[in-house]
Symmetry: C2
Subunit: 307 residues, 2 copies
């Protein structure tokens, strides 16, 4: 039986100013998925972790993504999936996107790589939709393309991979629940044109900063006048922690996706570790459980490790 083992990484959507349009992949944490090609139309899901996610294909992120792909495959085929999730659901670092992106890349590999990356993104979005009830690619796109991506449009899909310089990423995941639906509900429906202009000036600056590999420009552009002021209230000690991370030398950072994880970008590993120390310090005092990762931007995205 044809088998493949996949590592599917966490992703950070929005990147401060780029709400709903930008994201990047990181190396750690990453989910492990083993997939086997079946010779009948069936999706078998075996959870090897403790998250008890649903295993009925129609209610499951893996299933949603694979069913979308299988509609465009003529042969009688199916997949068995052994999933070991490491990216905690609800952490805000693309847990469901890693599932959806991982299985479509794995399935494509088992089928002889017949689909293009942007087709894989579209299939995976069907899976993501089951988890988030929204049609968006801000985690899926960087998970499949790797690196930093701009999603100019979700419909029709227009994904633009951006060059970027080496970047270290420190991520803290406070073990509190922030529902994506609530984090979206509290956003203003209307914003001032003035603030919107400030935001798109920074989006332009961030895109140029990545492409020019200009750390200072990246740093100056990591400002969010619209979303962060509202959502940061859901994250304990956000302002204090951010201020101290910047003092420790971080280029900038903010809420990962809709939270509760918070990320900071740094130019070098020493700074990223100093930022980790600051995050540890602020959170240890609060009595909230948390994990911190020090990692780097992942230019590969989903990876076939065996198969």
């Amino acid at each position: 039986m044809k088998e493949v083992t996949i590592l599917s990484p966490a992703t950070i959507a929005n990147i401060v100013c780029g709400f709903d349009v930008m994201g990047f992949a990181i190396h750690q944490p990453a989910d492990k998925i083993v997939m086997r090609l079946l010779e009948k139309k069936e999706i078998r899901i075996i959870n090897k972790d403790g998250y008890n996610l649903p295993t009925e294909p129609e209610k499951n992120v893996f299933g949603g993504a694979l069913l979308a792909m299988m509609r465009e495959v003529k042969e009688e085929i199916g997949f068995e999936i052994e999933s070991t999730k490491v990216i905690k659901p609800g952490s805000g670092i693309g847990s469901s996107a890693a599932s959806a992106a991982g299985v479509v890349v794995g399935a494509n590999h088992l089928l002889g790589n017949r689909f293009l990356k942007n087709e894989l993104v579209r299939f995976a979005m069907h899976g993501e939709q089951i988890a988030s009830q929204a049609w968006h690619a801000d985690n899926i796109a960087p998970c499949i393309y790797g690196g930093v991506t701009l999603i100019r449009s979700n419909e029709p899909l227009d994904i633009i991979p951006l060059d970027f310089p080496p970047l270290y990423v420190t991520v803290i995941h406070p073990q509190i629940e922030v529902k994506t639906s609530y984090a979206r509900e509290i956003l203003p429906k209307q914003v001032s044109l003035k603030d919107a202009v400030t935001q798109w000036a920074n989006v332009g600056g961030l895109v140029a900063g990545f492409m020019k590999q200009d750390y200072d420009l990246i740093s100056r552009s990591l400002q969010d006048v619209l979303i962060e002021p509202v959502r940061s209230k859901l994250i304990p000690s956000f302002d204090k922690m951010k201020k101290r991370c910047l003092e420790a030398g971080a280029l900038g950072g903010g809420i990962s996706g809709s939270g509760p994880s918070v990320f900071m970008l740094s130019k070098d590993q020493a700074t990223a570790k100093a930022v980790e120390e600051v995050m540890n310090e602020v959170y240890r005092k609060m009595g909230v459980e948390f994990n911190v990762y020090v990692t780097t931007v992942n230019s590969k995205g989903v990876e076939i490790v065996n198969g």
Copy 2:
């Protein structure tokens, strides 16, 4: 007496989606300015065109810009300016910016190039402010830097020159009056977050498109869901003309600054000329006076032609 002759080009602000943050310089039309260094604190303005612009330094764009520069010069110096404006005031292609940018670059040359480009932009903004009552660099920055610029912030000034591919520009200037103040008044104060996201996705796409020299991406990103729907009503037959220009092969385009000029970008000269023909056809039928220019993006900006 030290003398210099300057060509100061027209500029196109906004570039469709990049309202208030982007702009580029073009080769035609351009103003001619002759400047002479005086040995006393005086600004003498001689208009050699028919526009009858004010000659009192405090009420004049040249004067406003030069006075700002002279405040940072210790010596007893002044300037005589012979101005031949070709860029019609009120045309929406940076007429006042060309005046302000031209004289500060000329003065800097006469003083042995002691100021940096971003300092020159700041001086010129004082001149631009006299004409437009606003503190902005979207025409000044590309006029002084040349090429395509992103203004990430006006205060503090943060100008980012962007790489770009060869681009032909067709500009039509209908001889109607659109007051900048009115064109700003009619804009909504509030916009939907959804539309703002669409706009900054396109700003990101346009920045990436220029830098990657990707004509298709530039074309897809030249969309404005916020400003054009409101301001285009001030320009006769805008929608019809735009539609026909796109059919003729233009990459895209829209209102230049706050209008009434309209520009279109093309990949090659033949297309830019076909676009010119379309503009001619649409406007000839309307009985509105107009000029059309076919030119290219100007990577130099203000140029010293003699001195």
